[in-house]
């Protein structure tokens, strides 16, 4: 009961109804049932555990616990700032996690935790574009180091082609995969679903392993190039496969096989295509003009 004798003494306010006896005009809000279940749950020993093994439950809880996420419309600056809310050590962890696949550790669940970022994918793709162009150029230069008649030319047109190839792989393949998963989700009730940004994030980080591989390709030994391609393909392919396995495992086996093989195949295509286009084999001449010139000079001398 509210005692008005000593205002500084701690008073127990039990029910709003009791207060109304003192002042009937006061507005009171009664919060009835909301905190009762909470107290009962806590009393029963049930504690929300975010490090649950079950990924679905932890996802639900993190959404509840993170509170209201205000979503700004996509044409404002604040919408994109949400995807750059990341620290240096997060980026490092994500890059290392994408290079070292661990069976059972899903990249999206372990590293992204519902906070995909755009910083990593964008700068990894940009670095890869320039690494490809520079390494390709440098390997051509090393190839023709001894020959005096070869005129060295830095081929800047290749930067544009590399950029188009890599950025379209990093954006259109996730778009297609997301659409495909959405379509399958409508047919089969799947508990695990990934948002578009998360898929873009996985694909962006999975390209990180190719940067050291591309730098290794400068060394003009074919066996070394093929070794590094195979290693990079295995690592990035397995990261992708292990990430998307939970999203498709409840599906029809043929659909699973089709989606997984499409993921792996596109990865292989990108790697081998880049190697073939930017890095020529040590025996053959890279560009048509000097080789044509060499053949023209050789033909008259042979006859």
């Amino acid at each position: 009961m509210a005692s008005t004798n000593d205002p500084f003494q701690f008073q127990e306010f039990e029910e709003a109804g009791n207060l109304l006896e003192a002042n009937r005009d006061a507005t009171t809000i009664s919060i009835e049932d909301d905190d009762m279940p909470e107290r009962q749950r806590n009393a029963a020993g049930f504690s929300p555990d975010v490090n649950d093994e079950d990924p679905h439950a932890s996802d639900d809880k993190t959404e509840l616990l993170s509170g209201q996420k205000k979503s700004a419309p996509f044409w404002t600056f604040e919408y994109y700032q949400r995807f750059f809310d990341i620290e240096t050590h997060h980026v490092k962890e994500r890059i290392i996690g994408s290079m070292l696949p661990w069976p059972g550790k899903n990249f999206i669940h372990v590293h992204l935790r519902r906070k995909p970022d755009l910083y990593g994918p964008f700068w990894i793709c940009t670095t890869l574009v320039f690494a490809l162009a520079i390494s390709g150029n440098f390997s051509n230069f090393l190839l023709h180091l001894g020959k005096p008649d070869h005129k060295y030319s830095p081929q800047f047109g290749k930067v544009t082609i590399a950029a188009t190839a890599i950025f379209s792989y990093a954006w259109f393949v996730p778009l297609a995969l997301w659409g495909c998963l959405l379509w399958r989700n409508n047919k089969i009730m799947n508990l695990v679903s990934y948002s578009f940004m998360e898929i873009v994030c996985v694909y962006g980080y999975s390209l990180a392993i190719y940067i050291p591989a591309v730098v290794l390709w400068i060394i003009p030994f074919e066996w070394l190039r093929w070794c590094s391609i195979v290693v990079a393909l295995c690592l990035s392919g397995s990261v992708l496969v292990m990430t998307f396995w939970p999203a498709v495992r409840e599906d029809h086996p043929k659909v699973i096989a089709a989606i997984m093989s499409a993921i792996v195949l596109l990865n292989v295509l990108l790697a081998v295509g880049c190697k073939a286009y930017f890095f020529s084999k040590p025996e053959a001449a890279p560009s048509p003009a000097p080789s044509a010139a060499l053949e023209l000079t050789k033909a008259p001398s042979a006859t």
């Binding site: 520079i134 005129k151 830095p154 800047f156």
Partner: protein, 232 residues
């Protein structure tokens, strides 16, 4: 008559103008900030419209020159940030693009960078780096960042001029090594100078996230400078 007049403005009479709010004053043009560059002290001018053109141009040139000196000796000062201008970056970009012309591959279609390509790389790259640092929560403004990134290209432009002079002497291994050393030194200088200005405005824990794109940007420009080969 008075009644009609009163009725016309009946609404206005309800508006009470408090006596504390002064409704008088005078409109005057504020005095222009006295800059130390002003030579004619006796002419107290309100605006810069009446000064001779030479004065205007010289003031801008002096501002640009002082910023060049601040890039040469980068210390944590706010001159570049406070009075940003884009004249210096434009001048440097045009100089760099002109020096990169006349290369071996101008006649071929696959060759050295065209004038427009250098421009696109420098300005587009600066804009992307600025957007990146703003998205990461930096407090620097858009044009201030463009100004800093543009001015810090100066060591690389100087390296390009040195490379062209070295290439006049010959393009063997010795000249390549000299060029490599010069370009590496100036690339390091550019990156260091720009991070001295830019990194302070970032929240801690994200500094290397902001520095890395700057590093990549100057690396690409340094590669363009290094791989320039003259036509024979």
């Amino acid at each position: 008559m008075a009644d009609e007049a009163n009725r016309q403005f009946a609404g206005l009479s309800d508006v009470s103008i408090s006596e504390d709010i002064p409704v008088e004053g005078d409109i005057s043009v504020p005095m222009g900030s006295s800059s130390s560059n002003r030579q004619r002290g006796e002419e107290d001018e309100f605006s810069t419209l009446d000064e001779p053109v030479k004065e205007t141009i010289l003031r801008d040139l002096r501002a640009v020159g002082s910023k060049f000196i601040h890039v040469l000796y980068p210390k944590r000062s706010s001159v570049l940030l406070r009075d940003w201008d884009l004249w210096g970056p434009l001048l440097l970009c045009v100089t760099l693009a002109l020096l990169l012309q006349g290369g071996a591959a101008d006649s071929e279609d696959q060759g050295g960078p065209q004038f427009a390509e250098v421009f696109v790389i420098v300005w587009f790259g600066s804009i992307i780096i600025t957007l990146n640092s703003k998205l990461l929560g930096g407090t620097i403004s858009f044009f201030q960042s463009l100004c800093v990134l543009g001015y810090c290209i100066m060591p690389l432009t100087a390296a390009m001029a040195v490379c062209r002079i070295v290439l006049v002497g010959g393009s063997g291994t010795v000249s390549f090594i000299v060029r490599l050393v010069v370009v590496t030194a100036s690339f390091g200088w550019s990156t260091f100078a720009s991070t001295a200005f830019l990194a302070d405005n970032q929240p801690p824990g994200r500094k290397s996230l902001v520095v890395y794109p700057v590093f990549l940007f100057y690396f690409v420009i340094g590669w363009m400078v290094l791989t320039f080969s003259p036509s024979q």
